[in-house]
């Protein structure tokens, strides 16, 4: 780690700060999955110690710069991490890159089972079926295959049924920071 030159403390500080910014940008660029603050910090600390608060401030600064510079992407906080995502106005263009390759949208049944798991996790399959009134093993398998839900444990009860919960990919798919960001369940009729 470089010693800060006492004669020009400000410049040194600026250089380090710029370097850190570029490193963060490089990390975000290289990763297709959201990076947690901690993970970014781990890497940045190999350059210079930094507090989580300061790191967050720098990330925010980069975000602001992108906005001012009218970049076509931005940094977002999703799935408990930071990730680069394109701005929505470019959707019609990017879409042309892969017409048929996009993952299929969820079926209604899948969305319902997913909703039940998201709000009631951890939950077993019989419990899910108790709410829906129908067998949901097929739908559950689809959600497992798409890695939107996963087994998170087993219930201490006869048969030790599997408990299911949502995954990080679920958060990503729906652009959520974490499950607490889900809208509240309410009965409006």
């Amino acid at each position: 780690m470089k010693e800060i030159n006492l004669l020009e403390p400000q410049k040194e500080k600026q250089d380090v700060r710029l370097h850190i910014k570029r490193v963060i940008e490089a990390l975000l660029f290289a990763s297709s999955d959201p990076l947690s603050l901690e993970k970014i910090r781990e890497v940045v600390e190999t350059i210079h110690p930094i507090t989580p608060r300061d790191l967050k401030a720098i990330i925010q600064a980069i975000q602001d710069e992108y906005y001012v510079q009218k970049r076509s992407f931005k940094i977002e906080e999703i799935a408990q991490g930071f990730v680069l995502r394109s701005c929505e106005e470019f959707h019609p263009y990017i879409e042309q890159l892969f017409r048929n390759k996009r993952a299929e949208k969820l079926s209604h049944a899948a969305a319902e089972v997913l909703a039940i798991i998201a709000y009631r996790q951890p939950i077993t399959r019989p419990q899910i079926e108790g709410i829906r009134g129908v067998d949901c093993s097929g739908v559950l398998q689809v959600l497992l295959d798409r890695q939107l839900v996963e087994q998170v444990g087993k219930l201490e009860a006869p048969g030790r049924p599997s408990l299911y919960g949502t995954t990080k990919d679920f958060l990503r798919h729906f652009g959520l920071r974490d499950v607490r960001e889900l809208p509240p369940l309410n009965l409006e009729k």
Partner: protein, 246 residues
């Protein structure tokens, strides 16, 4: 006020279109634009049963569940008819009675249906954002194009083979089949040719004893994590393959 099934609602004509009795009940309630907490039990029960009778056919998968729900409704209805309390307000209170599981189920299900819609909308909205590497859709875990057979699949399969075999039984053989011998045999086969077709191990020409012992051998190997049975998705061919110990 009979519920006219041939109404303008042409999208739902059979019970098969419903996810289950709860969904169906929900549909009826919504059609009447009733608040779920103020369902006219009598009305709904009548409609439910009428509709059920008109549409019930032997092919309906969840027929039993539908009928079960009808029974619950009738039970609730009969309770409200008992001259225990005063009318109106008491009945409404009874409808919200925790004992009336079905109301709670309905309310719960209703909420989740709403939220599921919201989730789907959100999915739609999120579709305009792309992150790095979005061009490759998430890898669906399809594996090698094989799917593992469940125990019931296996049982059915074996049942089928066994039934065919017994009819070809002719001479009573003096051979004694041992499971451990067959296990060793299968192990050696797998070492040489990593996957064995089901028909090879369970040919129709074998006698029952041979089939049973072979099946037990395969099951034992599966239990020990040495083998597993899979089905090729495209061809439907069933194979016994070497498995890695977990």
């Amino acid at each position: 006020m009979l519920y006219n099934m041939k109404s303008t609602e042409d999208n739902i004509l059979t019970l098969g279109n419903f996810e289950g009795p709860i969904d169906f009940l929900l549909h009826l309630i919504q059609k009447n634009e009733l608040d779920i907490t103020e369902i006219s039990l009598r009305e709904i029960t009548a409609q439910y049963i009428n509709r059920l009778q008109e549409m019930l056919s032997p092919e309906i998968d969840n027929a039993a569940e539908f009928v079960g729900t009808a029974a619950s409704l009738l039970l609730m209805k009969s309770k409200t008819l008992l001259p225990k309390h005063e009318q109106t307000s008491e009945i409404e209170e009874e409808l919200l009675d925790p004992q009336f599981e079905i109301i709670h189920k309905l309310i719960d299900y209703c909420r989740f249906k709403e939220v599921a819609k919201a989730l789907k909308e959100r999915e739609e909205q999120q579709g305009v954002f792309y992150s790095r590497g979005a061009a490759e859709p998430p890898e669906q875990k399809k594996g090698l194009g094989v799917e593992h057979l469940s125990l019931s699949d296996l049982a059915n399969l074996f049942q089928h083979v066994l039934s065919k075999a017994s009819s070809s039984q002719g001479v009573i053989k003096e051979e004694i089949w041992k499971v451990s011998d067959q296990m060793q045999l299968i192990r050696c086969m797998l070492l040489e040719i990593s996957q064995i077709r089901f028909e090879v191990l369970f040919p129709m020409t074998s006698c029952r004893e041979e089939l049973i012992v072979n099946f037990l051998a395969v099951l034992e190997l599966m239990k020990q994590g040495e083998a597993s049975i899979v089905k090729e998705i495209e061809t439907g061919i069933i194979l016994i393959i070497q498995a890695n110990r977990p």
